[in-house]
Symmetry: C2
Subunit: 421 residues, 2 copies
């Protein structure tokens, strides 16, 4: 199959390009051209993670989860982690999602895991897998396993940028983020990369996230942090409201830093680390939105005055997923009536007569009606910005949430309708 | 404000045009040009309903309901109906939805109801109101009340087609449907019309439905029928997943036919009538989808093998609302992987390894994988049809549901983004 013409880089891509990620002691990366679907591009990555590391993960809740997701969930549920004397591996391919492929899909997973296990000298159930690309076609695992020795021989602790490129599909730029912090005098690093360009198309746009640190954190503490932060970052972004069969986030903490392990969630260092990890994950989540299919606007939606955090998030997502809100934003139309509509359809409690809406700092609506001081021209001028903040106060409580999305443009239709896969 | 250029009639519009609706004894219609927002078009309708009629209604569940919706719900909740010696009225305007207009909105409602009540010689709380159009601007009720005498003088039992035209906004064709049935030897008619061109934009595309019959049906029986049928018709269509602040369905049964009133839901005539009313409401619901903004495909989605009817409907709507499914349909792409994704994201139980998918009669996927007999060329040829049937069996139970939708095209973006209201 011929490669499709690459899309131009999203106008919302970070100005600086892919960041210079810190090397993480105990983690090495490699990438290769395996020709899973397209020739002439990096499409498989291998990560080697040192023995003694803690692993954590978050996965799609889709009931039609892909074979590699089911595999990862099984392996993470087993008692592994820092007690282990053996290392871990991660193998990811693009071009084929190995989703909805029945027993054949499972066989492809087992073959890939066995091959990586042999190359890295670890048990197969220490190998985590993710696949992204077309669904319904069995993974040609032999193309990946044929490259395993090459991958192993190329492992390098400075090759994260290559790995980030190998997992791209419709992404228009690779996504990376890092933090360097100090935990009671010990320098520690976090490096992460992600792919995703739709929240989330099963067809060439699934979200994958990989995070690495040299900090020493017990597996249960690490998993708890990842769960909490995920709820406020990757679970608060939406491009099109669709949910992938393959969404996977994996994190490894190698414990190579010269620190006493964090084993208590009340440890002061856990809070410092969690804050840094939050910033890295939020940065990557925002980059996924900035690479949303066809996106020309990056939109933050802040909901306050809700009866609960969950209600606030649901209202935020109802606004962020509304095609009418998203097309109005694409058209730079300060159509606050569509925000009122989306609040109303969310099914959450709101007080119509206390509802207020702001575009940036501009008070648009209050007390159940357009604000007396609001001028349509000011709203229209604001909507011309590339980055928008829409604030809604529901007037019923004190809980809040923030979600992020992009606009819905002709380019989204072109990417998803005009191109025949 | 200048009128926008009218859109060409939807390619999916019924071939025969607006049907010849039966006259309903006890119901008269009128329409006028009130200039609510645009000059030079019918934009207000008045319906007079004879004393002794039963009234029933269904309304949007939005928490930001418009002022006329709140009014109708209050009035219907009061004990009225066939015991009354006074008639009813319905006043509907297009151009302004009178939504999110606070106390001013309520005053516009009261002024309009008072004016219609005086013209028709009935109490104001027997006047039902609906408004559709832009939101956030107070209804210029004086433009409607100024036309009330003109409207009353023009009441005519043959003017339903004019009334159907007066309530249009972005609709590209007026929508009507009728049934003529025999209830134990007594001929009875049902006439209905609707507007809607988005499910459902608050801005110029709200769904409104008005139904009339000369059958004699007690109010509680009528309300029960309308609720049940609505759940399987208007609540099973979606254009864009958005929910209006103003959706309103009103039905009047005048009891002018020479029949003993239906007062028992077990009455055989109730079943015959309900079947006919179902057909009329389904026809109108389908016409709303056929006039979906930018629609080029009419799509029926049948979900079987579900654990409950509600689960089946949720899966159906998850498929019908998925931008990725809808853009694939627009692109005539038999992308069944996106159906698998939508089933997975619905949150409902499905057995991945028993799931089957059909395009028309073509078995596409079964037993957790693409069907061995499926040829992509057959799927691609099928997708070229204007009317598509997608069937999904979840493999976990015996419940089923059917929903209807249209595709998501460039024209939808043009209507909702490129046009500045």
């Amino acid at each position: 199959m011929a490669a499709k013409t690459p899309s131009p880089v999203s106008p919302l891509a970070p100005a600086g390009g892919f960041p210079d990620l810190p090397r993480i002691d105990g983690v090495r990366y490699a990438a290769a051209e395996a020709g899973v679907r397209y020739a002439g591009r990096l499409d498989v990555m291998l990560v080697e993670i040192a023995a003694g590391s803690s692993m954590a993960g978050v996965f799609t809740r889709s009931s039609t989860r892909a074979a590699p997701v089911l595999w990862c969930q099984e392996k993470l549920a087993a008692p592994a982690g820092s007690a282990s004397n053996e290392g871990f591996g991660i193998v990811v391919n693009s071009g084929n999602a190995n989703a909805f492929t029945g027993a054949k899909g499972r066989r492809g997973v087992v073959a890939t895991a066995d091959s990586a296990a042999k190359a890295l000298g670890i048990p197969a159930d220490h190998v985590f897998l993710a696949s992204t690309g077309v669904i319904g076609e069995p993974l040609p695992a032999e193309r990946i396993t044929a490259k395993m020795t090459f991958l192993r021989d190329g492992l390098d602790d400075g090759a994260a940028a290559l790995a980030a490129r190998a997992i791209m599909t419709t992404d228009t730029f690779p996504k990376g983020a890092a933090a360097r912090i100090d935990l009671d005098g010990v320098p520690v690093s976090i490096a992460g990369f992600a792919k995703g360009s739709g929240m989330i198309a099963p067809d060439m746009a699934t979200m994958l996230v990989f995070l690495f640190t040299d900090a020493a954190i017990a597996p249960d503490i690490l998993q708890g942090m990842v769960d909490r932060i995920n709820a406020a970052t990757f679970n608060c972004i939406t491009v099109d409201g669709d949910t992938s069969t393959s969404d996977t986030l994996l994190m490894a903490a190698t414990g190579k830093a010269a620190m006493r392990p964090v084993t208590d969630p009340g440890d002061r260092r856990a809070r410092v680390f969690q804050k840094a990890l939050h910033d890295v994950m939020l940065d990557l989540a925002h980059q996924v939105v900035r690479d949303g299919e066809g996106a020309t606007k990056f939109v933050e939606i802040r909901v306050t005055g809700a009866s609960s955090k969950s209600a606030a998030r649901k209202v935020g997502l109802a606004i962020a997923n509304s095609p009418l809100v998203k097309t109005a934003i694409a058209g730079e139309d300060p159509n606050w009536g569509r925000i009122v509509m989306a609040v109303g359809k969310s099914g959450q409690r709101a007080d119509r007569d206390r509802l207020s809406i702001r575009f940036g700092d501009i008070l648009v609506a209050e007390n159940g009606w357009v604000s007396p001081g609001y001028a349509e021209a000011a709203g229209a001028a604001y909507m011309k910005n590339d980055e928008l903040a829409i604030s809604v106060d529901l007037g019923v409580g004190r809980a809040s949430a923030t979600v992020w999305t992009c606009d819905l443009t002709h380019r989204y239709i072109e990417i998803n309708a005009d191109y025949r896969s």
